[in-house]
C-alpha cells in the first residue's frame, strides 16, 4: 500500500434540519459554469421572514442569480428526482418572468437553521482495501 496523502479525498456533505428542507434545484444558470444547487430566493425569504430588500442589504455578499422561469422549468423538469408533478406545478413552462435564486452554501445552510456535517469517504475505502 502506498502513501495516501496525495490522493484526492471524497467528502460527502449532509445538511440536517429539524424542519422540512426547502426545495433545492440543480440548475445551470450560466454557460461559464456547470449546474449548481440553488434555492428560490422567495422560499428563503419566507423561511427567514425577511423582505427581499432587507435580505439584499443584510447579506450583500450572497449572490442572487436570475433565470427565466421557462428555462428554470425546463431544467428542473428534466431531473428524475422531480418526478412528482405537484412539485413543479407552480411554475409556468412558457413564462418569461425572471426567478431569483441563491446558491446553497454553508452560510445559507446556517442562516436557515440547519447544520452541516461532512463525511470523509477515505476511511471506508481504506477499510475495504484492507479487508
Amino acid at each position: 500500500p502506498g502513501d495516501d496523502d496525495g490522493e484526492q479525498r471524497e467528502v460527502f456533505e449532509f445538511e440536517f434540519s429539524d424542519r422540512p428542507l426547502l426545495p433545492c434545484y440543480n440548475i445551470q444558470v450560466s454557460l461559464s459554469q456547470g449546474p449548481r444547487n440553488w434555492l428560490l430566493l422567495s422560499d428563503v425569504l419566507k423561511r427567514l421572514k425577511m423582505s427581499a430588500r432587507a435580505f439584499r442589504a443584510t447579506f450583500k455578499h450572497i449572490e442572487v442569480a436570475t433565470i427565466a422561469e421557462a428555462e428554470f422549468y425546463k431544467q428542473a423538469s428534466l431531473s428524475q428526482l422531480f418526478s412528482c408533478p405537484e412539485e413543479l406545478e407552480g411554475f409556468m413552462p412558457d413564462s418569461k418572468e425572471l426567478l431569483d435564486l441563491v446558491e446553497i452554501s454553508s452560510e445559507l445552510v446556517a442562516l436557515l437553521g440547519s447544520s452541516l456535517e461532512c463525511l470523509d469517504d477515505h476511511w471506508d475505502h481504506v477499510a475495504k482495501a484492507r479487508s
Binding site: G6, E7, Q8, R9, E10, V11, F12, E13, F14, E15, F16, S17, D18, R19, P20, L21, P23, C24, N26, G34, P35, R36, N37, S79, Q80, L81, S83, C84, E86, E87, I104, S114, S115, E117, C118, L119, D120, D121, D124
Partner: protein, 109 residues
C-alpha cells in the same frame, strides 16, 4: 487534511430525506435527543446507504455496526446510492424520501 484536494460532491443533484428512528433503545442526553430531532437531511444523490449509516453513528456517538438503514422497515444494502433508492422506491412521489433507521444494542465480544 488539504481541503483543496477534496471532492465534495456539492454540485451533484441533491436528495431530500426524512429519517425516522425505529428502535427500542432510548437515546440519552439532551444533545442526542436534539440530533435525533434533526430528521430532515439533504445530501448528494451519489451518497450510499453506508455513508448515511456512518454519519448517523457519528452524530449519535454510536458504533458503526449499531445503526442499520431501512426502507419500509426492510434492510437496505450498504452500497445502494440515494439515486438508486429514489428511482426504485420513490419515483413519482414528492420529496422528502422517507427512510428508517434502527439502533441495535452494542455487540459485546
Amino acid at each position: 487534511f488539504d481541503q483543496s484536494k477534496a471532492h465534495f460532491y456539492r454540485y451533484d443533484e441533491q436528495v431530500s430525506l426524512c429519517l425516522e428512528r425505529r428502535s427500542s433503545l432510548s437515546l440519552v442526553g439532551k444533545d442526542k435527543i436534539k440530533l435525533a430531532q434533526q430528521k430532515f437531511v439533504r445530501c448528494s444523490a451519489r451518497t450510499e446507504v453506508r455513508h448515511l449509516r456512518r454519519v448517523l453513528c457519528r452524530r449519535l456517538s454510536l458504533d458503526k455496526q449499531q445503526v442499520h438503514m431501512l426502507y419500509n422497515d426492510k434492510p437496505l444494502p450498504d452500497h445502494m446510492t440515494m439515486r438508486q433508492l429514489w428511482l426504485s422506491h420513490w419515483f413519482g412521489k414528492a420529496q422528502p424520501m422517507v427512510l428508517q433507521y434502527v439502533i441495535r444494542e452494542k455487540s459485546h465480544r
